[in-house]
């Protein structure tokens, strides 16, 4: 196809896009423009049919082969004798085990440090499935895709299995010897060259262990870094309200559920928030005329302000996790002014053990490493070599450290650059504890002994203490015993009520012996109840009265450049954790990789998302692959993304509903040492991400290349073949023709049959699915793979 022809073709597609009448439901851009390409996609994407149509093996041959193999299968019944099998019963049957019936244990899965209560199903001692814990505040009986797929990670043969030193197998004892030697040196200088890098920590026990370590080595430092902040806050609120307004740049599930959605550039959201705040009577800085005009839709703002005013105390304003601090401050101010605080919003003490600015924390660590101030670095969890911001050059700095220890589930990019690698236990293998978003503690109990030589973070940190071989179970129990016996001391979340009860119990006791017996009895029953329920009672953080600082606006100047009236020739780039594999930690999970992502329906890959108009301006295309593989493929342009002097090649994906002149890239792909499933898939967006603009930045340049790339996409599976997705009519039309939804094609007519008609007696059952209650979380779809 010549260049000119291509241009003309695209033009007609665009024209058709504009012509389509408004109430028309469609599922893909190709379907909307009816360019005749859809059938082609269906052929490509519906593997069941395409495989038979296209391949050399036609249906006839297929049936012949099947018939032959079935006949041969019959033969084996004659020849093969039954194999000798063994039955190995228990020597002593454990209590409550009914062979063939599963047992459920309450525990918790964590993501970004925050716990979600789950009930893990166990068949004869093997965890097989995750269900939600209805009593847990972060679950309420539901789970997410990560919890569902975590069972597969548990059994992943690519998980690291042994302690490694420079790629060679070593023993845990050998590691302890080396660690002791390093610690002896550190002890003399009070740990001045000792650093610990963790992910977000909410576990009370782990926090206590780290505090103890910092007490033993007062000059040592604990850093935290995790590439993606949690975004549950946004997701959680979406169903609780009558009307949902969403202002966003990249289409999300939340946006898809919204009653009113406004796509704008990420950098304009601050101006938008200021406009809404001003509408609510909050004094913000004087808006320039330019800023006012940057908010394209004044009516939208006005309507939103009116709706908020009418629902004082019954509304909520939530800022996206990726927004700069000033937008969060504005959201707080708006909630305050609307009287939502205490009604729909409560403030609590931070749930994290030590809330820090994690980017700042990592930057500090890198500068220490560069200055040669770090001799021993322990990285527990996380993969900073892969996911640290590109401008920090973490990998280069890391190699200046004398002794590097990495503790993780996989032998990953960071492990490869460390001296020692300690395999981590999966959460279904080890004792631990963690807090949920509201502070509720769950004691994480294992369902199976470690499959490999894994150690939990608690056991690794115990190696720094005088008792290096303590088991995770003892560490957790001792911590909570300490908390319970000392009342509130050490356990911020334990309520006064329980401590009073403990105190009165000990007072009423006659002798110290009886006291100990009473306490240990009470502790055992508390421990068993906490494990059984999957949460520790009365550990939710208490509500905190807050008031806005009067000078908050002075502290929050316009963080981004004010919008210039001339459109910026450069684009904006947005970074988001991948909907399926998050920040890359789930890259080796096949269930999550093959899960079509919400809205894009891409699987196994990431892409640079942009709007149809922007794509058209840049001359980028998306078309059906001329040669397909076994799955549905779209052939898309490959572009070169230039951002702050760094270049990355990425396939594009045209996403209706995306804000103009913005590009979204998903993090988590382009892994090199994820395992055999995740290696080399997609592109690594971390290579463009910088510490000054972790979530979005201006100044992206896009260069088109002549290359194209095939993306797996399931959007056109199960096509309606020209029939409507939804039949609809206005009320007037319905009154005049109540059977408007019936089509003649619906009734295929009675076929002649040898069988007598089936007589329905009593009820005739039907099934209805309320698709309106689907929020696109994909959890059920992941669960179906179990």
């Amino acid at each position: 196809m010549t260049e000119r022809h291509e241009q003309a073709e695209k033009f007609t597609t665009r024209t058709r896009l504009n012509e389509v009448a408004s109430p028309h439901f469609w599922r893909s851009l190709e379907e909307l423009s009816q360019s005749g390409e859809l059938e082609e996609i269906v052929r490509r994407e519906s593997p069941r049919h395409a495989a038979l149509l296209d391949s050399a093996l036609d249906r006839r041959q297929f049936l012949k082969l099947m018939g032959a193999s079935l006949a041969l299968a019959g033969l084996t019944a004659c020849g093969a004798r039954q194999p000798v099998e063994e039955i190995i019963p228990y020597a002593r049957q454990p209590e409550q085990v009914v062979l063939g019936q599963p047992l459920f244990y309450a525990t918790a899965a964590t993501l970004g440090g925050y716990a979600m209560g789950i009930l893990a199903e166990s068949h004869e001692g093997r965890p097989t499935k995750i269900e939600g814990n209805p009593n847990h505040p972060a679950s309420l009986g539901a789970t997410d895709i990560f919890a569902q797929a975590s069972v597969l990670t548990l059994y992943d043969p690519d998980r690291s299995q042994t302690v490694m030193y420079l790629g060679e197998i070593r023993s845990w004892g050998a590691f302890l010897v080396e660690l002791r030697r390093a610690l002896a040196k550190e002890h003399d200088r009070q740990g001045a060259c000792l650093r610990i890098l963790t992910e977000t920590v909410t576990s009370p026990t782990l926090a206590a262990q780290l505090e103890q370590l910092l007490k033993d080595y007062p000059q040592a430092a604990w850093h935290q870094y995790e590439p993606a902040a949690r975004d549950e806050a946004r997701e959680g609120a979406r169903l609780a309200f009558d009307r949902l307004y969403v202002v966003e740049c990249t289409p999300s599930c939340t946006g898809a559920m919204a009653d009113h959605r406004l796509p704008i550039k990420a950098s304009e959201i601050e101006s938008f928030a200021r406009a809404v705040a001003a509408g609510l009577g909050i004094q913000t800085v004087e808006q320039t005329a330019n800023q006012q005009s940057a908010i394209g839709n004044r009516q939208w703002v006005a309507a939103l302000v009116r709706d908020l005013e009418q629902h004082r105390g019954a509304s909520i304003v939530i800022a996206g996790e990726e927004q700069p601090p000033v937008v969060h401050a504005l959201a707080h101010a708006m909630n305050q002014s609307l009287g939502n605080v205490g009604q729909t919003i409560i403030y609590t003490e931070p749930v994290e053990a030590r809330p820090t600015n994690q980017l700042e924390s990592l930057r500090q660590l890198v500068s220490d490493m560069d200055a040669g101030r770090v001799e021993t670095l322990v990285i527990t969890g996380g993969n900073p070599v892969y996911n640290a911001p590109a401008d920090l050059h973490f990998a280069d700095s890391l190699q200046k450290v004398g002794l590097r220890i990495h503790h993780s589930l996989y032998y990953d990019e960071t492990s490869a650059l460390c001296h020692w690698h300690i395999p981590e236990t999966h959460y279904l293998e080890a004792w631990s504890d963690a807090r949920a978003f509201d502070g509720t503690v769950t004691i994480i109990q294992p369902l199976i002994a470690p499959l490999y030589e894994g150690k939990s973070a608690h056991e690794l940190l115990a190696a720094f203490s005088p008792q290096p071989d303590r088991l995770g179970y003892d560490i957790i129990r001792e911590y909570w015993k300490g908390v319970r016996s000392q009342g509130n001391k050490g356990g911020a979340g334990v309520s006064t009520q329980t401590s009073v009860r403990t105190a009165s119990a000990s007072q009423s006791a006659n002798s110290p012996d009886v006291q100990t017996v009473n306490f240990s009895e009470e502790f055992e029953s508390w421990w068993n109840k906490s494990l059984h329920d999957g949460l520790v009672p009365d550990t939710a953080s208490r509500q905190k009265a807050v008031s806005l600082k009067t000078d908050w606006l002075n502290q929050a100047p316009l963080s981004s450049n004010p919008q210039s009236p001339t459109p910026n020739p450069k684009l904006e780039i947005l970074f988001r954790p991948d909907p399926s594999i998050y920040d890359g930690r789930f890259a080796n999970n096949g269930w999550l990789q093959e899960l079509p992502k919400p809205l894009t329906k891409l699987a196994w890959d990431n892409a640079a998302l942009l709007s149809p108009q922007t794509a058209q301006r840049l001359g980028l295309t998306e078309e059906i692959a001329s040669r397909g593989g076994e799955h549905g493929q779209m052939s898309v342009s490959v572009v070169e993304l230039n951002y702050q002097g760094r270049t990355l090649r990425a396939p594009v994906w045209i996403m209706p509903g995306h804000a103009e002149e913005s590009v979204t890239v998903y993090l988590g792909y382009g892994r090199e040492r994820a395992g055999r499933v995740g290696d080399g898939r997609g592109f690594n967006a971390y290579l463009l991400r910088t510490s000054d603009a972790p979530w979005f930045g201006v100044g992206l340049e896009i260069k088109r290349t002549d290359d194209s790339y095939s993306l797996a996409c399931t959007q056109a599976h199960h096509s309606m073949e020209g029939r409507e997705l939804v039949r609809f009519a206005t009320v007037d039309e319905y009154r005049s023709r109540p059977d408007f939804a019936r089509r003649e094609a619906d009734d295929p007519g009675r076929a002649i049959s040898l069988y007598p008609d089936w007589k329905y007696e009593g009820y005739a059952w039907g099934m209805a699915i309320d698709t309106g209650s689907c929020v696109g979380c994909n959890a059920h779809r992941t669960a179906m793979k179990v």
Partner: protein, 156 residues
């Protein structure tokens, strides 16, 4: 005109066409019969077990209820194999010194389970348990599979 084929060819053709069908049917019959024969299924051949155990003795002579050992038969698709503990409930008192029962006592001492050899291969999963129930109703003319109150209706 000279005939290309002899007159008898017609007969040969008929016989061989029908004969081939009969041959196929016969082959199928042979295959099925061999497949179900005790030669292949090894019915009646005693498996080597760690301990000689007789259902007849324990159930018919001693009158122990099936559910004493097969504890989960009423709750699960798998009736359950008795743990060593269940054997030792009695055999710590009777036949406590029998050399035949030494493997059982060894298992109880060490916690190492006994390795029994499976005799009947079909371990029904819950899915085809339902199918099996229907099969019982059909082929054994039982009114309702749920009316099988006694294990010994089938397990004789």
């Amino acid at each position: 005109m000279r005939r290309t084929f002899h007159r008898s060819t017609n007969t040969i053709a008929r016989v061989s066409i029908f004969g081939f069908l009969f041959f196929l049917a016969g082959l199928a019959w042979v295959m099925i019969t061999v497949g179900r024969s005790s030669y292949v299924t090894e019915a009646g051949i005693a498996r080597r077990q760690p301990v000689p155990f007789s259902h007849k003795h324990h159930v018919a002579d001693d009158g122990i209820d099936c559910r004493y050992c097969h504890t989960t038969v009423e709750n699960s698709s798998f009736a359950g194999m008795p743990s060593t503990q269940i054997c030792m409930n009695c055999h710590s008192q009777i036949w406590a010194d029998s050399p035949m029962l030494e493997p059982v006592r060894a298992s109880y001492r060490t916690g190492e389970p006994l390795h029994w050899t499976r005799v009947h291969m079909q371990w029904q999963t819950p899915a085809n348990q339902d199918e099996m129930g229907r099969e019982l109703v059909r082929s054994y003319k039982i009114k309702d599979a749920r009316s099988l109150m006694s294990c010994s209706t089938c397990h004789r």
